[in-house]
Structure formats: structure tokens, C-alpha cells
């Protein structure tokens, strides 16, 4: 890797876009540099499942032509990014980290991919993830593990592990992930980058491979709050192809970004700091809360009493929906088809060979939760818990503008540490799941380092429905007050 490629890698998304706009660097140079960095570092990291150099360079050349013709499409025109392999990309294999989709080349692109490409973003490839976004460590990828650039023995978090690791390793300037129970925020926290899960319905799910339809939400990751906001600005908005996407106009996320935290009422859910946190996590989170006070915000004690039922409700609703969403992988029309005699054997063999242990586990959980005679006790009751969780937040937002707390009880754990213990793995999401259940926007912003390991800690902010503006502004204020630790050198 050349010195130039390394230097260019330090540019944020917004900075890189500005540099292209000013003619200081070409999109081709940026893209070649990104491809060189991926080439040099991804053997260690494993963030990419697929790199698409030709497609990326063609997009970069087109962006350069626009720059010369003064027809730039957006502030990110010509900037290399990458996508979690859950987003369908026309003509570029998309697998959701599963063998059952190996070789599947989509005939269409997800709405958010269309929007990014229409804005001129250069898609360099597809990022590693837990199979069908089921997991919190990226270890459930059917293809290879992804490693945390801060410590290669540790997980980057999941399920959007590749999306966070690729940023922390400075391979690309921005990425997209999806968040069903914390899958953007957890890896962002573990890798020391910013990750935003928008309000359910703010970003189109069309062309995003479904895990749990009522919880899934695509979102951006960036090395700064501004970068994440910039990507969100491009992908947010109503999509007539997604009936659950909101018709509400999209706010300007960038203009209010530097508005500071003065006067902000920051709710601190007492259940989120009631013990069970690693000391390094608790210390960093409390320091962040103090920083808010120092900036003129008010801390407000709030209660989210149903947090503890969140995991149980989530692990009924998400597998139930998944068991249905994954039924289409039957070997008939696309993806893997096992050798078999007869229809039943075709189904059984295809799904036996195609799905890994975690999807199988969740298909069984979900099938059971929906079965006749159990529906009321499981699925229906979980939906009621969901209502209670939402009411907790509604109540809290009467006295505060957003709530703040940990993303996860721990910093990035070691690969293999929880792989054999699904329940322990599920608990990594205890604080993030409630925002999905309540359909609220949430984000993770770096707030310090664990003294013992040097690993980054993220602060989670959760806001009112469609109030991404306040979340981003608050996160940006913290980023200014407590500059995030420098990213590790992977070389």
C-alpha cells in the first residue's frame, strides 16, 4: 500500500467528497486507494465478502466525468463506500452471509443502493455479516469471521460486523448496515465508529434481505457523526415500494448538527446503569453523561421498567418473523438447490445444507412460537410487551428529549468467547433491542476507551420517533467535547 493510499484513507466521507468537489483528488484515485487498502488489510480483518473493483472504478470514472463537467450529484459523489451484504445490488452477488444464497446475483438493487448510486457514491463491495443478520459477533457468517481492527482476537460485533470493521480499518469512507436488535449500534460501539439506527420507516427496506420485518431498519455508519448524517440524508425518505416507509418529509440532518447540547434534557434510564456493566463501560458512559452536563445539558432520571422483558419479547417476535421470511429459501427459484429425489427431500436437503446453526435455531424457535395453541402465549404476549416498552419511552420523553446509556454491557469480546452460548450472546443486545421494539431512532457514538483493554466504548442515544435531528446534534456535541480515540493502525 502506498503512502498516498494510506493518507487518503484518513479522510472522512464528507472530507473526501469535498476534496473531489474541489478537484484536489479524483474519484478514481480515492477508489484505487480504497481498493489498495482493502487489498492490504482485509486478509487480517475479513470485513469484505466481495470486492467489486471493476464496478467501483467504472463508477469512479463516471463521477470524475461529472466533476469535470460540473454536474456533481451530491456531496458524496465519487466517494468509495461499502454495503453490508444484506443489500441487494443488481448484477453483484448478494448472500446475506449465507450459503443458501451463494451465487445469487440479484436482478434489481435495493432502494437505498439506488439512492446512493444516484448520489454518485462508489460501491466498492459487500461486507461481512452474521448469516441473515442473526448474531452479535459476526461469527455466524457462513463464509469467514470478521475481526476487530482494535484487537484482531476480538469480534467487531454483529451483525453488521463488516460495516463497522471496514470503517475502523479505514478501508472505505462510509458503510451501510441494518439494525434489527442492535446490529448497527453494537458493532459501531465495539469498533469505535458512529452507527445510526433510524426510526422504523425512515429508511426503505425494499431490496434489503428480510430478517424480522417489523424490526429491521437500514442505517449508516461513519467515522464521524457528520459522515453518518450525510449518508442518512441520502438514504432516508419515503419509498412507494415499501408500504411501511413513512411519508413524513425528511429533515435536514446536517444544518443543525453543530447546534450543541445546551438546554438539552438527557434522560438517564436508571435500569440501564443498575449494574451488570463492565467497569470500563460504566466509567466511559458516566463520563459522557458528565460531559453533557458540562455542555449545559440537564440530566434527567427516567425509568424504562420493561427493559428487562425486551430480550424475551424480541426472541419471540424476531424468530417468528424470520421463520416466515426464510421460507422462500426452498431451492426452487434461486440460490442453493441440493441434489434430491422428490419435493420434500429437496426442501429438507437444501435448507439443511444452506442454513447455518443460528438461522436453523431461530426458524425452530419462531415456528414453535407461531404454532397453533402457542400463538397467544408467545407471539401475542410478546407483542403486548412491545406496547409496554413503547409506553415506557413515551413516558420518559415527557421529561427528556432523548435517553442516553450504554450500547452494550461489555466492550468487544473475544472471538469464540460466546459462540457456544447463544443466551450469553443474546444478552449483548439487552440495551439496544428496546429501540427496535419501540420503533425509535438510536445511535452509537464513541465516548471513550476501556482502560484495561484500550477498546472503544460507545454511548447509546435513543430519541423520539423521527427525531434523528436531536440525536445527531447531541452525538456531534459529545464528539466535539470528548474527541474519539484515534483509530488503530492496521497495516
Amino acid at each position: 500500500m502506498t503512502r498516498g493510499a494510506e493518507e487518503l484513507g484518513r479522510l472522512g466521507l464528507a472530507e473526501a467528497g469535498d476534496a473531489v468537489g474541489r478537484g484536489e483528488v479524483s474519484a478514481r484515485a480515492l477508489t484505487e486507494a480504497a481498493l489498495a487498502r482493502i487489498d492490504a488489510t482485509d486478509g487480517k480483518i475479513g470485513a469484505f465478502l466481495r470486492v467489486a473493483p471493476e464496478r467501483a472504478l467504472a463508477a469512479a470514472d463516471a463521477a470524475d466525468a461529472r466533476a469535470r463537467g460540473r454536474t456533481r450529484r451530491s456531496a458524496i459523489d465519487g466517494v468509495p463506500i461499502a454495503l453490508k451484504d444484506i443489500f441487494l445490488t443488481r448484477g453483484l452477488e448478494t448472500t446475506a452471509g449465507s450459503r443458501i444464497l451463494q451465487g445469487f446475483v440479484p436482478p434489481y438493487s435495493a432502494t437505498v443502493v439506488e439512492r446512493l448510486e444516484a448520489a454518485g457514491a462508489v460501491v466498492t463491495g459487500k461486507l461481512n455479516m452474521d448469516e441473515f443478520a442473526m448474531g452479535s459477533s459476526n461469527e455466524n457468517s457462513a463464509f469467514k469471521p470478521c475481526r476487530n481492527p482494535w484487537d484482531l482476537a476480538r469480534t467487531p460485533g454483529g451483525s453488521s460486523g463488516g460495516s463497522a470493521a471496514a470503517l475502523a480499518a479505514r478501508q472505505v469512507h462510509g458503510t451501510l448496515g441494518t439494525d434489527t436488535g442492535g446490529s448497527i449500534r453494537l458493532p459501531a460501539s465495539f469498533c469505535g465508529v458512529v452507527g445510526v439506527k433510524p426510526t422504523y420507516g425512515r429508511v426503505s427496506r425494499y431490496g434489503v434481505i428480510a430478517f424480522a420485518s417489523s424490526l429491521d431498519q437500514p442505517g449508516p455508519l461513519g467515522r464521524s457523526v457528520r459522515d453518518a448524517a450525510l449518508l442518512l440524508q441520502v438514504i432516508a425518505g419515503h419509498d412507494p415500494r415499501d408500504a411501511t416507509s413513512s411519508t413524513r418529509p425528511v429533515d435536514d440532518y446536517l444544518a443543525p448538527l453543530e447546534g450543541g447540547a445546551r438546554g438539552l434534557r438527557v434522560g438517564v434510564p436508571r435500569e440501564w446503569l443498575a449494574g451488570g456493566l463492565e467497569p470500563g463501560v460504566e466509567r466511559a458512559v458516566r463520563a459522557a453523561l458528565q460531559a453533557y452536563e458540562a455542555m449545559g445539558a440537564t440530566l434527567v432520571d427516567v425509568s424504562l421498567p420493561h427493559t428487562r422483558y425486551g430480550i424475551a419479547a424480541y426472541y419471540l417476535i424476531a424468530p417468528a418473523e424470520a421463520s416466515s421470511n426464510l421460507a422462500r429459501y426452498d431451492g426452487i427459484r434461486f440460490g442453493l438447490r441440493a441434489e434430491a429425489r422428490g419435493l420434500r427431500e429437496l426442501y429438507a436437503e437444501t435448507r439443511e445444507q444452506g442454513f447455518g446453526a443460528e438461522p436453523k435455531r431461530r426458524i425452530m424457535l419462531g415456528t414453535y412460537a407461531l404454532s397453533s395453541g402457542y400463538y397467544d402465549a408467545y407471539y401475542l404476549r410478546a407483542q403486548k410487551v412491545r406496547t409496554l416498552v413503547r409506553r415506557d419511552f413515551d413516558e420518559a420523553f415527557r421529561t427528556c428529549d432523548l435517553v442516553a446509556g450504554p450500547v452494550s454491557p461489555t466492550v468487544a469480546f473475544r472471538l469464540g468467547e460466546k459462540a457456544q452460548d447463544p443466551l450469553a450472546m443474546y444478552l449483548a443486545d439487552v440495551f439496544t433491542i428496546t429501540a427496535n421494539l419501540a420503533a425509535l431512532p438510536g445511535l452509537s457514538v464513541p465516548c471513550g476507551q476501556d482502560a484495561a483493554t484500550g477498546l472503544p466504548v460507545g454511548l447509546q442515544l435513543v430519541g423520539r420517533p423521527f427525531d434523528e435531528v436531536t440525536l445527531l446534534r447531541a452525538a456531534r456535541a459529545l464528539e466535539r467535547e470528548l474527541p474519539p480515540p484515534a483509530l488503530p493502525e492496521v497495516g
Binding site: 441487494l88 425494499y206 417489523s214 404454532s371
Partner: protein, 484 residues
């Protein structure tokens, strides 16, 4: 106990394809036929990542149907996923409605033997059709899947177990079909499967209040097969009970080749469909404005039309029922009545033609009323010729048939074929004289008191005159000559 000691109890589930241009959740055409999988897109193929968006026209037609049948049209209803694996079901689930359907209650008016009855409905819901598996097409013996039909919108219309005979069931289906066709909601085609029916059949001893165990019968794509299937199933269930056995709840398939039903799957083997609310679609809202708009769009329905024919045109109930069964026929009838002056006498004459000769010709040719070459005005012209005495009964029939086939003007046909009625007394007298001279024996017997022979003489005279003699004059002349 013989079959007659048992009461048959039937409930019907009708699947009616909605006449929309595009499918229920995507923009693909609903046209019948086409190369396999030509009418598909990522959405109806169930590719990863796709999402359904409800076709607004489907909702309108569901509301229209609910209003026509007197249902409670729900302000909010919910789509649900019905989960099962089958190659013709691309997503592994069918998007349907379950706990909260769009319509509840309502009734279908059924007239049978002069008695009108409302057959209650349980519910109406919206859902998507599946594709179909295609066997024996590939050289290697493998099967294929054609998803052209996958995602075509359906209304499922479920009746209460209110029907008490096969005749009632068929009358119910004909009434429902006529209503749906009048609404423009469904094309009523049983053969192509755009109007399909499953029957829940049970029997109980007459006088009993307790319904017997039911079986669901599938695969009846004509009224004739429906009758065969239900008759067979009733006999089967009665025989079972007679032998001391029990009817087992199950789904049975009608085999039209053998005219019998056979077990498809038992209750134990029944799928657990694991219904749950479809998370990709928000609850369906029916705003009052939509209900009002559809209410204003409601056409006159067949039973209202039949009532109007009885009231304003003094038609017998039977005539009226036949006329309204097909919307186009009823419209043709009304145009012909109008062209004939609109009086009840004219209406009865038109009705006789439409339900008689024209129904026969239509049946033979398979033509709907709108495609008939005989226009209402041309039938009115035929009636005028008959009234004027220019055309007799047999001649009129020949003229109508020819006009039906060619679309020629009745006058022209009459002239070209020489079908004009002969009212010239001299010509009739000549014919009568000839017949009486040749039938001396019959004349003797007639004069001896066997007046029934008048029919014989009329027939002979008409035969001689090639059916063109004016019947009234023929009669009068015969009577005069025989009486003398």
C-alpha cells in the same frame, strides 16, 4: 335410515379473481395465459428483499362487493401470512387475511322455487392467488412452476352453513356469480378458475339441531361437478353413519373422471398455517370517503333488477330470474323492451324470445348478449312483423335464427326466404279444400263428434302451406267448412 331421512348442510367458500389490470401486490398483468412466468417480477417471484404494496383497486372492489352483499365493511382490517411450503407459493407464505377480514356478515339473496332466502355470509377477505405446478412438460420428466397467476387478487367469500340442498347451493353460487359479474368484480368463469368454489358438506338426521362432522370438498370447476361431488359426498357420509361409522373431518378432492371424492388430508395431517399479522403491510384503512364513493358506484343488482321486472313489467318470477343471471343479457333485454314500446305485453314477448330461442342460440354459439348479431332493434322489428300478421310463429323463429347468425335485417330475411305469412283467404281456402278432400275419413269422424281432430286438420293445412298460413285464418276457415 335412507338418504332422505338426513338433512344435508352445506357451506361454501368461493374464491373470486378480481378484475384488476394488475396483481394485488405488484404491477404485473393479471391477464390469463401467456408463456409460463412471462407475467412475473421480483415481487411475485418472491425474490429476497421484495415487499408487497397493496393495489388500491383491490381494496375498492372488496369494499364494493361488501356493500353489495350488505356486509359490515371494516374501517380497519389486517393482512396475515398463511405459512406453508409448496413450489407454486414463492414466498413460502400466502398473504391473506385471517382474524380481521375486510368484511363481516352480509348475505346473498337466493331465490328457489319461488321462495327468496338470504344465505348469510361469515366473511369476505382479500388474498393473493398462488401459481401452478406444471407436470409432463420437460423432456427429462421434471416438473415446472408457472407463477403467472401468483399474486392475482382474490376475494374469498365464505358462507355460513345455511344451505340445505345441492339445488340451494347452486342457486347461491349462481346468484353470487351474477352479483359479482354485475359489479364488474369477477368474470364468472368457472372453467378458467376465476370463480372457484370449495364446499363444506355434512349431514345430520332430520329434525336434529346438531351439525354433523363436515368434510371440505375441493376441485369442482363446474356446476355439474359440484352437484356430482356433493351428491356423492352426501351418500358417502350417510352410508358411513348407517354402517355405524363416523364421518372424519378431512379435506377431500373431487375426481371428475370417476365422479367421486377421495381423501386428500385428514385433520391430523392438516397444515398448521402459523398465521400472524403481515409485518410488511400496515393495517388496511377504509376511510368513509371510500365507502361513500363505492356506494355511489353500486349498480342495480340482479335481485333488484328481477324485482323491478316483476313490478314494472309484470314478468313472472321465473322469467325475471333467468333474465338477470347475466348482466349483459339483462341489458340486452331492456334495450329490446324499450325498442318495442316498453309495455308489459311487449316485455313478456321479448322475455320469451330471450329466455327461449335466443338462450338456445347463445348457448350453442357461446356468445354473450353483447356479441349477438341480432340487435335489440332487430328483435323489435321481428315483433312488429308478427303483430302485423306479416310473420307467423314458425316463420318468426326462422327469421330470428337467421338474423342471429348473419345480422341481416328481418325484413330482408323475410323477403329473401319467402317467409311472409299468408293471410289471403282465397289461398287458405284452396289449401283447406285440398286437405279436406284428401281426408274424407277424418272429416267423417270429426262431424261424428271427434272435435279433437281439428288439430290434425290445422297441421295438415300448415304443412301444405309450408308453415306460412295465418293460424287464425286457417282455424276460422276450417271451422266454417267443417261445420257446414
Amino acid at each position: 335410515m335412507p338418504v332422505s331421512d338426513f338433512q344435508v348442510v352445506l357451506g361454501l367458500e368461493v374464491h373470486a379473481q378480481l378484475l384488476t389490470k394488475t396483481k394485488i401486490f405488484c404491477g404485473c398483468t393479471t391477464a390469463f395465459g401467456g408463456e409460463p412466468n412471462a407475467h412475473t417480477c421480483p415481487i411475485c417471484l418472491g425474490l429476497p428483499g421484495v415487499l408487497p404494496v397493496l393495489n388500491a383497486r383491490v381494496l375498492e372492489l372488496a369494499v364494493l362487493t361488501g356493500l353489495a352483499l350488505g356486509c359490515r365493511v371494516k374501517e380497519s382490517s389486517v393482512f396475515a401470512r398463511k405459512n406453508y411450503f409448496y413450489p407454486d407459493l414463492p414466498k413460502g407464505y400466502q398473504i391473506s387475511q385471517y382474524e380481521l377480514p375486510i368484511c363481516e356478515g352480509g348475505a346473498v339473496p337466493v331465490a328457489l322455487g319461488g321462495v327468496e332466502k338470504g344465505v348469510r355470509l361469515t366473511r369476505i377477505h382479500m388474498e393473493e392467488d398462488a401459481g401452478k405446478n406444471v407436470h409432463d412438460v420437460a423432456a427429462d420428466g421434471s416438473s415446472g412452476v408457472d407463477l403467472n397467476r401468483a399474486g392475482v387478487p382474490l376475494l374469498e367469500i365464505v358462507s355460513e352453513p345455511d344451505l340445505r340442498s345441492v339445488d340451494e347451493a347452486i342457486a347461491y353460487l349462481k346468484s353470487l356469480r351474477a352479483i359479482l359479474m354485475t359489479l364488474g368484480v369477477n368474470d364468472g368463469n368457472l372453467q378458467e378458475g376465476s370463480f372457484r368454489c370449495d364446499a363444506n358438506v355434512s349431514v345430520m338426521p332430520r329434525g336434529s339441531e346438531k351439525l354433523g362432522t363436515r368434510c371440505e370438498i375441493k376441485n369442482m370447476n363446474s356446476f355439474r361437478f359440484l352437484r356430482q361431488a356433493i351428491d356423492f359426498e352426501v351418500r358417502r357420509q350417510v352410508a358411513l353413519i348407517e354402517e355405524g361409522g363416523k364421518v372424519v373431518q378431512e379435506t377431500r378432492l373431487f375426481d371428475p373422471d370417476r365422479g367421486e371424492t377421495r381423501s386428500m388430508r385428514s385433520k391430523e395431517e392438516a397444515h398448521d398455517y402459523r398465521y400472524f399479522p403481515e409485518p410488511d403491510l400496515p393495517p388496511v384503512r377504509v376511510p368513509p370517503e371510500l365507502v361513500e364513493r363505492m356506494r355511489r358506484a353500486l349498480p342495480e343488482l340482479p335481485h333488484a333488477r328481477a324485482a323491478r321486472y316483476r313490478r314494472d313489467l309484470a314478468l313472472p318470477a321465473h322469467d325475471a330470474e333467468l333474465l338477470v343471471a347475466e348482466k349483459e343479457t339483462a341489458e340486452w333485454f331492456e334495450a329490446a323492451v324499450a325498442a318495442s314500446g316498453g309495455a308489459p305485453e311487449a316485455a313478456k314477448k321479448v322475455a320469451n324470445w330471450v329466455n327461449g330461442e335466443l338462450a338456445r342460440l347463445a348457448n350453442e354459439s357461446g356468445l354473450a348478449a353483447s356479441a349477438w348479431k341480432i340487435t335489440p332493434a332487430r328483435l323489435a322489428a321481428v315483433l312488429r312483423l308478427v303483430d302485423a300478421g306479416t310473420l307467423g310463429g314458425p316463420g318468426a323463429k326462422q327469421v330470428v335464427e337467421e338474423v342471429f347468425r348473419t345480422g341481416a335485417e328481418p325484413d330482408a330475411v323475410l323477403g329473401a326466404r319467402g317467409l311472409a305469412q299468408v293471410s289471403d283467404e282465397g289461398a287458405i281456402e284452396a289449401a283447406v279444400d285440398q286437405v279436406l278432400a284428401a281426408s274424407a275419413a277424418e272429416v267423417e269422424r270429426y262431424r261424428g263428434g271427434n272435435t279433437k281432430l281439428m288439430g290434425f286438420f290445422v297441421g295438415q293445412v300448415m304443412k301444405l302451406m309450408k308453415g306460412k298460413g295465418n293460424p287464425a285464418l286457417v282455424n276460422a276457415v276450417l271451422r266454417r267448412k267443417l261445420g257446414g
